[in-house]
């Protein structure tokens, strides 16, 4: 297998890595790699920070391991190689009445990435996390295949789901698909005028898919205003979606400067009429709103950006409001932010979800934003919440044990699976996750 010397980066483009990358196209090549040169896996690099980076070391690009290798129409269980994009899986099965039960906000995440971060979707409060729908995972550990499931090797299963790739290469997995009526979605959007109303609306929302878009630049009485989006899947076959667009170059620095963002957010808010509206769209539109514009991360210019995402327990919504206040008052223009109520569904020791509210906000990569994010991280810890590894690029190791109380169980399983630390990534090193406390 040839190794390619290359530079690669997380979605936020603020953290980068240089090193050798192999890209197997078939199972036999992957097995050989795992035996001869174990290295962390990378999916589609949709994690924002350094979860999938291994600066100075090697990595294995899984994106060409991208086939559906079995499907049982009786049970809806599909077996896929781990490099399959979740969006492709959704599109090819929805017309036949099946959908992946959990899809993150981008269709470009691979199944391996969805497992390794135990991702959540807009229906987390109903169906839980991705890992809860995984029947079985085939791992490669130093060239040896190991099958793990909630029944078989359950400890290793729980260390693998949300396990940041540290228990071995995920070669393939069986996913329990969910029956669905079709591939269209009825989408209801309504304006929300402020924070308390938002929390109340999220608490009482009954739809399967629910998400809040917050104008993180609105202050004072308007703090927390935004749009509540609720969706239900319906029948109908989508006309093929329009052509994808590209952001061809790094945007100039003013592209996301405060006035531009404020104007954009105000327009986004008013786009929805005061009385709300209901539309029917192909499912890909509401699931993956940004995927239509390839490389939209270039909008943030050369320096890149960060996303901060935390979840705090239900009774900590006031703390979350204070965090939003800090963000709005900071004047660090941040475009749309996402607010969502999470259920308690999680499938791994290191899974992000907890019952509560999750807030995600983007910041251009600037010194002031870095300081603000550190402050937000501490506020999250104080609230008994946690930050999301898939998004993080900046945190230090101190709060991690407290945020992830099952870390010790994970670490024990990981040390057994990869005693020499060959699978460690930049994130794992930065947060000292592989070190015993």
């Amino acid at each position: 297998m040839r190794w390619k010397k290359t530079e690669y980066w997380g979605w936020g483009r603020a953290l980068r890595a240089r090193g050798e990358v192999a890209r197997p196209e078939r199972a036999s090549a992957l097995t050989t790699l795992s035996a001869e040169s174990p290295a962390p896996a990378i999916g589609n690099l949709r994690s924002y920070g350094d979860a999938a980076l291994n600066d100075g070391g090697r990595a294995i690009d899984m994106t060409r391991m991208d086939r559906v290798i079995g499907f049982d129409p009786e049970t809806g269980i599909v077996e896929v190689e781990s490099g399959v994009n979740i969006g492709d899986l959704g599109i090819s099965f929805a017309a036949r009445g099946w959908i992946p039960p959990v899809m993150p906000g981008t269709g470009f995440a691979t199944i391996g990435g969805c497992i390794a971060n135990d991702v959540h979707g807009k229906n987390h409060h109903v169906v839980g996390s991705f890992g809860q729908h995984v029947e079985e995972i085939t791992l490669l550990q130093n060239g040896r295949r190991k099958t793990v499931s909630p029944q078989r090797n359950a400890d290793l299963f729980r260390a693998t789901v949300g396990g940041l790739g540290q228990t071995g290469l995920i070669a393939s997995a069986k996913i329990r698909m969910m029956p669905c009526k079709g591939d269209m979605m009825v989408l209801t959007e309504r304006r929300i005028d402020g924070w308390d109303e938002f929390i109340a609306a999220l608490d009482s929302a009954r739809s399967e898919y629910t998400v809040g878009w917050i104008d993180a630049t609105a202050r004072g009485a308007a703090l927390g205003r935004g749009i509540l989006e609720e969706g239900e899947i319906t029948s109908g076959i989508s006309p093929s979606g329009g052509r994808a667009r590209e952001v061809p170059f790094n945007a100039p620095n003013w592209a996301l400067s405060a006035p531009v963002v404020r104007a954009f957010n105000a327009a986004y808010f008013r786009r929805v009429p005061a009385g709300g509206r209901t539309t029917v769209k192909p499912i890909t539109a509401p699931f993956f709103p940004l995927d239509k514009i390839h490389n939209w991360n270039r909008l943030y210019g050369k320096r890149g950006f960060h996303q901060f995402q935390c979840v705090v327990p239900i009774d900590q919504s006031d703390q979350l409001r204070r965090m939003l206040e800090r963000i709005a008052n900071s004047g660090l223009a941040s475009p749309l932010a996402v607010l969502k109520r999470m259920g308690n569904g999680r499938a791994g020791y290191m899974s992000f979800p907890m019952e509560g509210y999750t807030l995600a906000v983007d910041f251009p990569n600037r010194a002031a934003a870095v300081l603000l994010i550190a402050e937000l991280e501490q506020m999250t810890a104080d609230a008994g919440g946690r930050i999301y590894f898939a998004k993080d690029a900046l945190a230090g190791p101190d709060n991690m044990r407290e945020m992830y109380p099952e870390h010790d169980k994970w670490l024990r399983a990981v040390q057994k699976a990869d005693p020499d630390g060959k699978l460690a990534t930049d994130l794992v090193r930065r947060l000292k996750l592989r070190e015993t406390s």
Partner: protein, 245 residues
Amino acid sequence: MSETWIILGATSSMARAFARKLADDGARLVLAGRDMDDMKRTAADCRAKGSPVAEVVRFDARQPETFGAVIRRAEREDGTINAAVFVGSMPDQSAIDADPSLVDGVITDSFAGPARFLQMLAPIMEARGSGTVVGVGSVAGDRGRIGNYVYGAAKAGFHTYLSGLRNRLTRAGGHVVTVKPGFVDTAMTWGLEGMFLVATPEKVADDILKAVAKRKNVIYTPFFWRWIMLIIRSVPEFIFKKLSV
């Protein structure tokens, strides 16, 4: 009506992309190659995408005795039989320079094996009065270069063969598309120095499908390689022999 496609060299990622697009359109597939385990996965994927038939048959360009089974499997399907050839091998020229016996293998994989296979298939296509052959050659076959002239020569031979086959099958309602890719992002080129304007296998597959639908004779993919090669071909030999392009 759905047609049957034989895919030779089905383990190549270009072939994988092509087979999947055919599967989306409901084509029946006979995947042929050496790595059975890998082809079984592609077959499952194609069935999941909509192929009513996607079967794998062992094929080794260096073992002509494997050819018959592939053809017999395709013959079991009614209607039009098409074939797409992705087989080829490109060892480092320096390896060939060190071991001249490697020449035979390159020529067998990229030219002689596929040509012999197509000779066996041609009468069946003629009898059925239809069918398209897609032959994947290479821009490397347009001119011999110091970096890969044995591979280039094999591809040039294949191009010439395809042009003759086109001449023959056209008379019987068939057609032949010669495909000359530039650099494509596959296992063959991953990590090689000096790659530029690299196309995805999906792009190449799209171009091939369009060429098949429009009954094109010779395509370059991506298209701009036609112009690049026009320039390269027009450099006089007395200059070209001193270049290392």
